[in-house]
Assembly symmetry: C2
Homo-oligomer: 448 residues x 2
């Protein structure tokens, strides 16, 4: 993955590690109730052994080396010659006791570090939860990324363009999923914050995230979010995220790579997990892309020149089952997205027959999906062109509809539309869901 | 909250801060394409001003002070006398350019820190998501904590006891929710890991979390989890968590407090966010509980003496709307929990009529809810005694049932039961859900 080749000089300051090999130990004397309450710091030299350590302890506490005592960990494991090296690490808390099993007559305070594990960033229980329930959460993960782009483009005056590009042509590099928008972009500080915060529409705003304006009657637009933010969606799709962004009125493009492989490497080398680099560069400068696996990036980066501002999320290390799903069910999941974003792409009246399919002031959101495979013509679909998403079918198969709007106490508005789908000519006119066709249910019932 | 009074000595090592007031700045000379690639470190003294800084820069890079150049941030803000103090902070990356708007002919690498914000621990988009959808996620948060207790007690040979205690008697302190189990408990290391990892049943095991053994035909037991782990559930309920745990064969009880207030205090004081203390003490020692708001803890801690091993999660700073819900809908949410854990508490046959209500080898899980209010008798209910949870109603109102079990390729087993609820004597025999009575839907429809 790119992150490795992209890494900069490392300071090598591992959490808890100390370069000089000298260890600091916190010792509580708990032999008697009257012992002092606080801990004493004992320095342990790099080449110190158990005997030397025991002597330092006696000296620090002013006790005779002849006295009977044990030194234990807070789990009451006695320190001995044999386990000294592996047990007495820098920052550890130890007890001085009469015996291993002695009660703590007065309490101790053990110093701990609880830096969140990087799983916090690269795993999302929520997507895994849905997967475990037998639903494929991949369309929802894509929707989460589309939501971020809707937020980023919310102040656009012209067309809001959101592109999902599936690079599955192995002659161009390893598989990748890219989500690109022409929104306002991020400064390097905002990009840094993207990595720091658990951004979601339910948490406060730290990186310019703007909640999408509620679209009238867009009752279904919110089912897309799990509200866990873009990082989790990215790491549900793949193993590495390259964020590339340029704010308007900026000369520079900012680039940040977060990858699971890189986190694992840092953990192994005891490097600082949450230190990294943002690459600042001029637009269309791709000299840093030297890894052949990502050569499709040269093309993507070369297009930056034409853009005033943008954000691109490039996901690599895409899980192979996701690639299979995206290829084999292209028709299905694009319809799911067209359904979810129906009122965003068609405007408040929805995809009624005989309305113009051109973008206009009320339907200026273009969501375009393209898939590139070796030796095949690219599949490209603009969600607005889809005529058989569920919402379009609801609208166009109803024989009558009744709109209502009720003002609730305070600022609340309940708005809705009831459509009438009669049972006609011996069949239901209520449309079948292409994602869950009723024929499948019937088969299951027949099986039972 | 307790965390403040409970805090120990602070080292005051804020992230990025340096005690000596000396700042380290990383400077990229990007005036020309041929400029060197790497950055130069410039030390800035505590009392340095812009003129002094500019002189250091000239000296470090060996350029004449007469030369024309600007020093800017990576956001291209020029450093001047006026903004010097607020802009040139320790660890910042700066550019040396011909002009503010000059292109970066070669890229730069800006050092960043992206320590996860503590919101990662104390917020859960998932619960907030469900709340935003109009469902009350509180019973699910309680279920998440019960799940943790099911895991902790999974190796118990005798009764597995899980108690939820709602301390709403203001004469005993501020409101608190405690979940206590007689499971295997945690060592101080495991307690530390509880804080570090995002534990859930979908992620790997770092603190002895054991996935509950699948209960046969317990089709509904999994709807309880969001899979986001206990920390998120705790911080959905309240603002502070006191974890108290004692492993079997240990003399010591381990106690860790995580509180939102404490995180905010550390952030404000620029202290290390993820450093803290575990209190190790003898069982039933509550001398550290000096805050009157938590005096109910003396009683809870005094009960430790009788227990071989246990874990107690004590949540304070409980949100007032949760208190209202728990009080006013006690009947409702206890039935919801009885439904969710039906096969855990009743065994594989469920709560059939005429079966013994005593605990036995196949139904040895006691889940007891008790609520304490001022001037009222405590409300205490063992979930096994509940006779009108949905699952019990399904089982006992069916006139016939058909069990099936199918082996799927590999290890899969599809198991189920179909119950027949006929339409009899002019009414449905399929039971109404007490949580969502159909009469409410009818009212909504009448309104429309």
């Amino acid at each position: 993955m790119a992150a490795a080749g992209d890494g900069g000089p490392s300071e090598g300051t591992g959490e808890g590690g100390r370069g000089d090999g000298c260890r600091k130990v916190y010792l509580f004397d708990r032999r008697e109730k009257e012992s002092e309450l606080g801990d004493r710091v004992v320095q342990v030299g790099e080449r110190s052994d158990y005997a030397g350590f025991r002597a330092s302890v006696c000296q620090t506490l002013g006790i005779s080396p002849e006295e009977k005592f044990v030194i234990t960990t807070t789990s009451r494991k006695e320190i001995t010659c044999d386990n000294f090296e592996e047990t007495v690490k820098d920052g550890v808390t130890l007890y001085l006791l009469q015996s291993v099993g002695q009660l703590l007559l007065t309490a101790t305070k053990e110093r701990i570090e609880f830096l969140p594990h990087y799983d916090t960033l690269v795993k999302s229980g929520m997507y895994e939860y849905y997967a475990s329930e037998g639903q494929n959460p991949l369309p929802f993960a894509l929707a989460e990324l589309i939501d971020n782009s809707l937020s980023a483009t919310s102040r656009n005056t012209g067309i809001r363009r959101i592109q999902i590009k599936l690079h599955f042509d192995e002659t161009q590099g390893k598989p990748a999923v890219a989500v690109i928008d022409n929104g306002r972009g991020m400064t390097s500080k905002q990009l840094n914050n993207w990595a720091v915060y658990r951004l979601s529409k339910f948490t406060s705003d730290h990186s310019g995230y703007v909640r999408p304006v509620p679209v009238p009657r867009s009752l279904n637009s919110d089912i897309s979010y799990f509200g866990v933010g873009g990082k989790q969606a990215v790491f549900f799709v793949g193993q590495s995220a390259r964020m590339i962004s340029k704010p308007a009125d900026s000369q520079d493009v900012h680039e940040l790579v977060l990858s699971k492989e890189d986190f694992e490497k840092k953990e192994k080398n005891k490097e600082s997990i949450y230190s990294g680099y943002i690459r600042n560069r001029k637009p269309s400068d791709s000299v840093h892309i030297t890894n052949d696996d990502e050569r499709f990036l040269h093309c993507l980066i070369s297009e930056e020149k034409e853009k005033d501002s943008f954000t691109a999320v490039v996901i690599t290390g895409v899980q192979s089952e996701h690639i299979q799903y995206l290829k084999n069910y292209f028709h299905l999941w694009t319809r799911q997205l067209a359904h979810i974003y129906h009122y965003y792409i068609h405007g408040p009246k929805g995809n009624e027959k005989h309305t113009s399919k051109e973008a206009g002031p009320f339907n200026n959101i273009d969501i375009e999906i393209s898939m590139f495979e070796k030796g095949k013509a690219p599949k490209i679909v603009n969600l607005r062109e889809i005529q058989d998403d569920m919402q379009t079918l609801y609208i166009n198969t109803a024989t009558d509809s009744f709109e209502f709007k009720a003002h609730v106490e305070g600022d609340g508005v309940v708005e809705g539309i009831i459509r009438y789908h009669p049972f006609l000519y011996d069949r239901e006119t209520y449309p079948d869901d292409p994602c869950f066709p009723s024929s499948i249910y019937k088969e299951v019932l027949n099986f039972l």
